[in-house]
Amino acid sequence: MTDPILALWGVSAGYGPRAVIRDVDLEIGRGEWIGILGPNGAGKSTLLRLMTGLLEPTGGVVEVDGRPIRSLDRAAIARRIAVVPQPSSLPFAATVEAVVSLGRLPHEDRFRGLRPADRAAVAAAIDRVGLGRLVGRDVRELSLGERQLVLLAVAIAQAAPIVMLDEPTVHLDVRHQFDVMDLLADLHDRDGRTIVTVIHDLHLAATRIPRVAVVAGGRLVADGRPSETLDGELIRTVFGVDPSLLPDGPWSERRVGGAVGHG
């Protein structure tokens, strides 16, 4: 691939003596949507931390926009990559608007704070995730699903070309899961953003995400379109379950269901 927006070259990493990621090569093109799949403890979240520069690899190089991520300061990374975390607790009361405004931090003027353009971006992000009616509510009183949407709005307001999400659907009911995936599809199609989603729901990944990379035991064991990559043997080996694969879905021709359960 020429000019990937994000690339890992022979990357290994771990916490202390424990190696979690071993020798991973991964290139992500501009405007791609890739899902990172794998069983628990495979190293998906570690991979994400490597790609955002929170963790330094013990071997290999992580590149953003062709430049080693080590050469970029946090502000530079923030202008390129927005990360949607899991909802967590807040020490103080904050409205939805106040939280989403944090997305403008990388663009904020040091002295004048939020300018009208920033406020407009914040309002647009809130509307885009459909939380317009909750704009003045205390975030701590929202449901988990709503809070996940708030965090997504933060990333949207950040206006970065790459959006990374760590298990965005794990707390959501079915309806909200679809809503999030629709949002991500919208960000991908309309904005042309690069999306990297760590996700454990095989079904959602297979039916919604155009490219999947499967991580197991710290290694990249598969990378490609779900229809080609997620075959029964892989799923059996990596996830240890016997899937029934049904033809369906917009992206791939498979819809994973049956004995797998809900992922």
Binding site: R74, V83, P91, G113, G130, L183
Partner: protein, 358 residues
């Protein structure tokens, strides 16, 4: 595209921050209140000075106006050498503690944090106790040994807490808090020992612990004011980092904050302010804890707005508390701030439990 509709219409009230959109009027009100407080503190005391004389003395000394001398030199000494530096010192210390409290609460993501949470109080108290026990009388730039050692003690304690917390594993914030608690307890024990050995000097240590502005002077102000004002301004310039920490350290990093560096800088600045404050006024509590919450209730959590308003609020509270303390006679300022602060904090907690903002 219709996404994420809130299907259930829950009857929750929106967060009500009365001055969220209009912090400027609040700042103006606050500034006016501060002026009134300072004038009251300068005009009232155990000796009666006519208000006209007070204003005339101020006009004469501050603006160098040549007015007919209707006041006595004694009144001028009282107003200019005793009351004015005292009022200003109370303002500066209150300002500093409120700013430091805001910073620590944001930095540690803990609404119960106050300026003393990382051992500064215990370090300062121990430094002061040692100074009282040493048979040495030193004055550097108008600062007595007690103030110098209190300052050094506060800084040393925080530095030690910071270093130790880096060594222990786990989340840096939890590590900081727990190490601060542990070291604080250790220093308190050392302080108890020092108090036990202090003999006749016990009263001096005790009066330091309770905090007071009795010894305020222009020279003391000249030492504390620059440190507190400059460090507070530097913190204000970094309010972005403080805001970024709202969602957590990782989220802050993702929003472009160099967390490690900012944490060290903010910690250092806030500790410097606290050390300067406690070295001139002793340990006065509740201001650093309650004022940030009160301000957040009015304007929301944005540090850029909270910090200056908390500074004004802290200054006003401290001036008023000192005025009340010396009017009621010999009650330590710390007792007044506790009497005001504790019930207020309980009210805050109750409201938070009933679903309002904290």
């Amino acid at each position: 595209m219709a996404v994420g509709q809130d299907l259930l219409a829950r009857g929750r009230t929106a967060v009500r921050w009365p001055f969220h959109r209009r912090p400027l009027p609040l700042a103006v009100i606050g500034a006016a209140g501060l002026c009134v407080a300072i004038l009251a503190a300068v005009g009232l005391g155990s000796v009666t000075v006519a208000p006209g004389d007070t204003l005339a003395i101020l006009a004469h000394r501050l603006f160098l106006l040549d007015l007919p001398r209707t006041w006595s030199p004694t009144a001028e000494t009282i107003v200019w050498d005793l009351r004015l530096p005292r009022a200003l010192e109370a303002a500066v210390v209150g300002l500093g503690l409120a700013v430091a409290g805001t910073t620590f609460q944001g930095l540690l993501r803990n609404p119960l944090a106050d300026p003393y949470v990382l051992g500064t109080a215990s370090g300062a108290a121990l430094g002061a106790a040692i100074a009282v026990l040493l048979p040495v009388r030193v004055e550097i730039l108008g600062f007595r040994l007690l103030q110098l050692l209190a300052f050094v003690g506060a800084i040393a304690a925080v530095t030690l807490v910071y270093r130790l917390s880096r060594v222990t594993g786990g989340s840096p914030l939890t590590s900081l808090l727990l190490t601060g608690y542990a070291l604080g307890s250790l220093l308190a024990a050392a302080l108890a020992m020092a108090m036990y050995l202090s003999g006749a000097a016990l009263r001096q240590i005790f009066s330091y612990l309770l905090g007071s502005f009795d010894n305020a002077s222009w020279s003391e102000l000249g030492g504390a004011l620059p440190i507190i004002l400059i460090a507070s301004s530097l913190i204000l310039l970094r309010s972005r980092s403080l805001n970024g920490l709202l969602l957590g350290e990782d989220a802050a990093a993702h929003l472009g904050v160099d967390v490690r560096r900012e944490r060290a800088i903010l910690l250092g600045l806030a500790s410097l302010i606290t050390a300067a404050a406690v070295s001139v006024s002793g340990l006065i509590g509740f201001v650093g804890l309650v004022i940030p919450h009160l301000v957040r209730m009015l304007v929301g959590p944005n540090a850029r707005v909270v910090l200056p308003l908390a500074a004004i609020g802290g200054a006003i509270l401290m001036i008023v508390a000192d005025l009340v303390a010396r009017t009621l006679g010999e009650i330590p300022v710390g007792v007044i701030t506790a009497v005001i602060g504790a019930p207020f904090f309980l009210v805050l907690l109750r409201r938070a439990q009933r679903g309002y903002e904290l």
